[in-house]
Amino acid sequence: MDSLKISGTLDSLEAVGQYVMAAAAEAGLSKSSAYKLRLAVDEIVTNIVIHGYSETGTSGDMDLHVDVENGALVLTVEDTAGAFDPFSLAPPDDLTKPLEERAIGGLGVFLAIESVDEFKYERVGDRNRNMFVVKLSMEPAAVPEAKAPAVPEVKATEPIIPPPPATRVIIVDDDRLSRQAMSKMLTEQNYDVATAETFDETSRALQQKPTDAILLNLKQSRENPFQMLKMLRDEKSLVDSAIIAVASADATAGTARALEMGADDFILTPTHAALLHTRITASVNSRRMEQQLAQGVLELQRTEHERGVIDKIERDVQIARQIQLSFLPSKLPEPQGWEIAGRFRPARQVAGDWYDAFYLEQIRRVGLVVADVCDKGVGPAMFMALMRSLVRAFAQRPPAWIPPSLSLLDEPPSLAVGRRRAAPTAGSMALKSAMEQTNNYIAKNHGDTGMFATVFFGILDPATGLLQYINGGHEPPMIIGPDGIKNRLQPTGMAIGIMEDSEFVIESVQLAPGDILLAYTDGVTDARNPDREFFTEANLISLVNRPAPTANALVDRIMDSLQAHIADADQFDDITMLAVRRAAS
């Protein structure tokens, strides 16, 4: 499929949409995958137009192209706007604008990330490159062949590599006859020869192109050759050039002085072509090697320095990792008749995922959290620490407007079986307040970073097995019974940090004796093997549909299978799981 070059304006969105749909059709994507790819590209292209070009008062094009490789469709969008990472896109002044005028920001990026198998951003030279990867479900053999990259045709008669440029030599000599003789000899041997009579002429010749060697005649009648030698040797740009003194065989007195002053070698005239060539080549090569050696030493020193810096960063990251691990519960609650198991395996030293389990209302309720801050690395890890603490603190300390006489959880929840929409009771206040306040805090204070987190937060009543929950855009947790998955807890609100005042609905579900609640992050389903194939949700579902005696046995089974899948591949995303099992009665 051809590339598309189109101006970076909102009017182009429609054509971009058509291009993506055509590419999706050609690659045989399903209707649903095609729509999602289009959505992802549309969101990012809209961001490029608005934030990359329009808001900065610049204009430019966007280039789209499609490759089908390794069983995946890869759509690339490039633009020439200033460096612009969608993960950190909202300009700071954005937050002062009314909600409806604000940047598409986190919501668009959220949809983009959620809609394709992989989304990547990189800055390449002066261009932004956004890549969207959609895995093709058909067998690789059936995939339309990707166009071979355009390799320029090479004709046999044309040399592929141009011949090395001729050695450039400047002959500095104010005697016309000896200058011409030397020049003729070198030109015949394919040297690139320039001549000069004075220092000024030499300087001009040097500026024309890089020079390998200067042949300086020590017998000059107009200028002092030793002074010329000193000035040439002092010239920093000539550090790579050899200087060879030329003296008459019957007047060799000056050669020793010339060598002392920095000449690389000397030649006595008359000489003959082969000897001249040998001496020049030797001088040029030795000068080059010297420089390469000096360069090498410099690089070595720099590497040593960088290694020191990297060591320091690595130590800092290790400390960050220790601190981050302290944000995970060191001891999980053990309410009677329940088993809680958590697993956490960051893709890098630090991660954006977290899980949490903590008592509320003395020990009458248990808060359960699994969450995933977009992206991975140090930035998301800082958000993880902040959000985890906010959720906990807001859940444990409800806002002041709840009458003190009303205990948070006093109202007994009705024991409806299965899923139902819960009326907002006092019992659900902690849940709602924690999610709303955390969301508003992040959106208000950190909206300009474009960070958001998908958060599942449930409050379990161990006595009855009732789980009230809010799912903020998170991978739907599973309720697993003896016969497999009973239901999935779909999102009841948007991911946290995207938009102020977004609404979170509380739902509830009943866990029967023997049921397991499994919440996890998409690092599980998106884990890749060395061939870059996903673990997939289908695989996870088949694992959990086999009965597990304990919550720990279930998460261990999944971890083992993940480990076997990932093998020695790079772990792509953080892996986090929380399983809660009600003992069979």
Partner: protein, 111 residues
Amino acid sequence: MALTISRSTENDQQIITLVGELDGASAPQLRDEVEAAAGENPKRLVLMVKDLEYIASAGIRVLVYAKQKMGAGIDIYVVAAQAQIVDTLQKTGVDRSVYLVDNYDSASVNG
């Protein structure tokens, strides 16, 4: 395919019909319509979206804006949304603050 919007008033309800694609380029049109609709102080806002083929986050934002503009007491109905659009509404949690219905009879509402 661009976006075509029409708006009518029926029985104290504002009915907005959307045909085509609601993206970053066309969302401002809808926002203008929502503002006009809010100015009529309706009892409900009803969006007929059977022939809406596409919705981007810019469109989602207008829905959230509509909810805020109308106030908590005014319900918003989204009628006959296509599967992909329902999917996006669910993913962003907007389905929890509007009513997603297959059919809507404006005459059935008691004015």
